[in-house]
């Protein structure tokens, strides 16, 4: 089983106040911590579990800066075998289609049975990269996968749908699966393992190395222009009703009546 697992280095926006640059085109990420995208972490674990069960090889693919090497080494400490990191400022990385083209460029000339991605990224939340990647690679896909079973050149993918429904699809390999969080419990990468993973191959390449034409993946090629980012204006607020239970009930009732809700 030859697997490619695509991962992304993203900021954790939950622990620091979000600030924008004056032009409103970028988030100031100086106070954020960065780590592997949540769903991608589950994709890494799933790829290692598949490898442990069926044998094979897992290659990590990521587009990102040098700082993201630590995330890649952690994935390799968990059991991935080698990695390709694509670093090139010319890539229009806000556009999932451009990102998918670059990832496809790194994968397409190699043999593969499975490509795993996270189902969605914590930063832009487009949830389209994996699906676009399948289209470009010309292979079937299943998105939001919560369980994987592989048999006879086919993969049975359990897809999580709205309302708690589970859809089971059987697709031929090779295929792309976008992995939903909760499919497994990602393991810990101990520091000794991370140190040992320094010996594994991590290839750093750019668009030219991959033979990708800049004009296919840069801002001009992208049909998405990032117009503006802004912090939503607070338009409503929660009111905490204080007082004894009877007073509270009276206040609440009067609010509901005034608002025409009862």
């Amino acid at each position: 089983m030859k697997i490619f697992t695509c991962i992304k280095y993203v900021p954790d926006t939950s622990e620091a106040e979000i600030k924008l640059n004056p032009e409103g085109t970028e988030v100031d990420s100086s106070r954020f911590s960065f780590d592997i995208n949540d769903a991608d972490n589950y994709a890494v674990e799933e790829s290692v579990l598949i490898k442990e069960k069926y044998g094979g090889n897992v290659t990590v693919v990521s587009i990102g800066p040098k700082e993201s090497d630590v995330m890649i080494r952690m994935a390799m400490a968990k059991g991935c075998d080698n990695a390709i990191r694509i670093e090139d400022e010319r890539i229009a990385s806000h556009d999932p289609l451009m990102v998918a083209r670059v990832l496809a460029g790194a994968i397409k000339d190699q043999e593969f049975d499975l490509v795993l991605t996270g189902c969605m990224a914590n930063d832009y939340g487009q949830a389209t990269t994996g699906v676009a990647l399948a289209e470009i690679l010309g292979v079937p896909h299943a998105a939001y996968v919560k369980k994987v079973e592989i048999e006879d050149g086919k993969v049975k993918a359990y897809r999580e749908l709205e309302g708690g429904l589970m859809e089971v699809v059987e697709i031929n390999l090779p295929a792309v699966l976008t992995i939903q969080t909760g499919i497994n419990e990602p393991r810990y990468a101990p520091i000794r393992g991370i140190r040992q993973a320094q010996k594994k191959e991590l290839k750093v390449v750019n668009l030219d190395d991959l033979g990708i034409a800049e004009g296919d993946v840069n801002a001009e090629a992208s049909q998405i222009t990032l117009e503006k980012l802004y912090i939503p204006v607070v338009e409503s607020k929660a009111e905490i009703i204080e007082g004894e239970p009877e007073e509270k009930a009276e206040k609440l009732a009067s609010i509901l009546v005034k608002g025409g809700l009862v």
Binding site: E15, R31, I191
Partner: protein, 390 residues
């Protein structure tokens, strides 16, 4: 794991923890505070761990995560062994296999990536200083007291007041001090007890290099966990380490510290395990409390070396015991209630958090409160430099 010989740095498990030194007297288990609420029997682990074939099985037993790292077993061991470290060694086998509980995994990853176990960004470590004019240490400037804040005090909104009040007090008392600011990184106390040897080694190396760079006469730690970890596990640190209560007791003796107002309260002091039984600092916090006018200082029956652990250490902040039996912190708070104490004073951020939870769980919020000593000192309208106030 998986059948290979359990050796650590070319030593067998039995050699590393001197398991043959154990005479199975049972003083460890007899004194272990968590035995009243969990199945942990540390003597049994010390005995069984001699058999290398059993290590894998032992490492999968839930009880190894019940140890709070309080060191009662080590204090009581007549052979000078540290039975708790056998449990930590077993935890290491789990951590090295990668199959840790998610909460432990996240705390360790955060310590590796961001220098704190609380999953907070490194860049916000100094946010507690907002609104204060804090002197930040520079490697080329000599300073007498270099402060080490602790991850929990730096990030936890409940206990950051310990550092904030310390700055106010130092300024008023005219003490030569500096803080590390955002360069500070976790001391590794909880990483050690959670069994992540590799990460702990890396932390000790990095912190020793960082701290040795500063021209400071001594390091003053705000948390007993950092204090004891530096003293016990940092052999190459080139300066002595104090707990803040030691510094303040010294200032008190030199009459550089006087408290403007009194506090007419009955206070019981809870000895933090990492300050008391692990580092022998018992008197300084009591001296500080006694120096406050109006304070009636009372003692727990289980005080000093026999102090009852609050279950905040040993990585327990990230591992919940399955036991439904009363938490030790609740037992402690009930003891304080029986003494009719108004305040349970502590000198450790973890003790504040665990004991305060217990006060809330027991519904004693009206009757009593838990306070860090620095919190109380801050409430006395600060400490004053005698030369200014005279």
């Amino acid at each position: 794991m998986r059948g290979m010989k359990m050796t650590t740095e070319n030593q067998t498990f039995a050699e590393k923890f001197d398991l043959l030194g154990c005479i199975q007297c049972g003083r460890c288990t007899g004194g272990c505070p968590v035995t009243v609420r969990t199945n942990l029997n540390v003597r049994r682990f010390v005995y069984d761990a001699y058999n290398e074939d059993l290590l894998d099985e032992l490492s999968r037993m839930a009880e190894i995560w019940d140890c709070t790292g309080c060191h009662t077993c080590a204090v009581r061991c007549p052979k000078g062994l540290k039975p708790l470290e056998v449990l930590i060694g077993l935890r290491s086998l789990v951590v090295e296999s990668g199959k840790t509980q998610p909460t432990v995994r996240d705390a360790l990853e955060s310590t590796f990536m961001e220098g704190n176990p609380w999953e907070k960004p490194r860049a916000t470590r100094g946010d507690w200083m907002e609104g204060l004019d804090v002197k930040i240490a520079q490697p080329d400037q000599s300073v007498e007291n270099l402060f080490f804040v602790c991850c929990t005090i730096a990030y936890d909104p409940r206990v950051k007041i310990v550092a904030q009040n310390m700055v106010r007090l130092l300024e008023k008392a005219g003490v030569d001090y500096a803080f590390l600011g955002e360069d500070e990184s976790c001391c590794g106390s909880e990483v050690f007890t959670l069994g992540e040897d590799g990460l702990f080694e890396m932390i000790v190396e990095d912190n020793t290099e960082l701290l040795n760079e500063y021209q400071a006469k001594r390091i003053v730690a705000l948390s007993p966990h950092c204090f004891t970890t530096f003293k016990t596990h940092y052999p190459d640190l080139n300066k002595p380490v104090l707990h803040y209560t030691q510094l303040l007791a010294e200032l008190l003796e030199q009459e550089k510290l006087v408290f403007k107002n009194g506090l007419a309260k009955k206070i019981v002091f809870h000895d933090p395990c990492y300050l008391g039984k692990q580092s022998g600092v018992f008197d300084e916090p009591r001296r500080l409390l006694k120096a406050i006018e109006g304070v009636e200082l009372v003692e727990f029956n289980r005080a000093r070396e026999r102090s009852l652990c609050c279950e905040g250490g040993g990585g327990k902040m990230w591992v919940e015991s399955e036991s439904k039996i009363e938490r030790l912190a609740e037992t402690r708070i009930k003891d304080a209630r029986a003494l009719e104490a108004d305040i349970v004073a502590v000198a450790c951020p973890f003790c504040v958090l665990t004991l305060e939870d217990a006060v809330k769980a027991l519904g004693y919020e009206e009757e009593m409160r838990v306070a860090e000593i620095m919190e109380l000192l801050g409430e006395l309208d600060g400490a004053q430099d005698k030369s200014n106030s005279a």
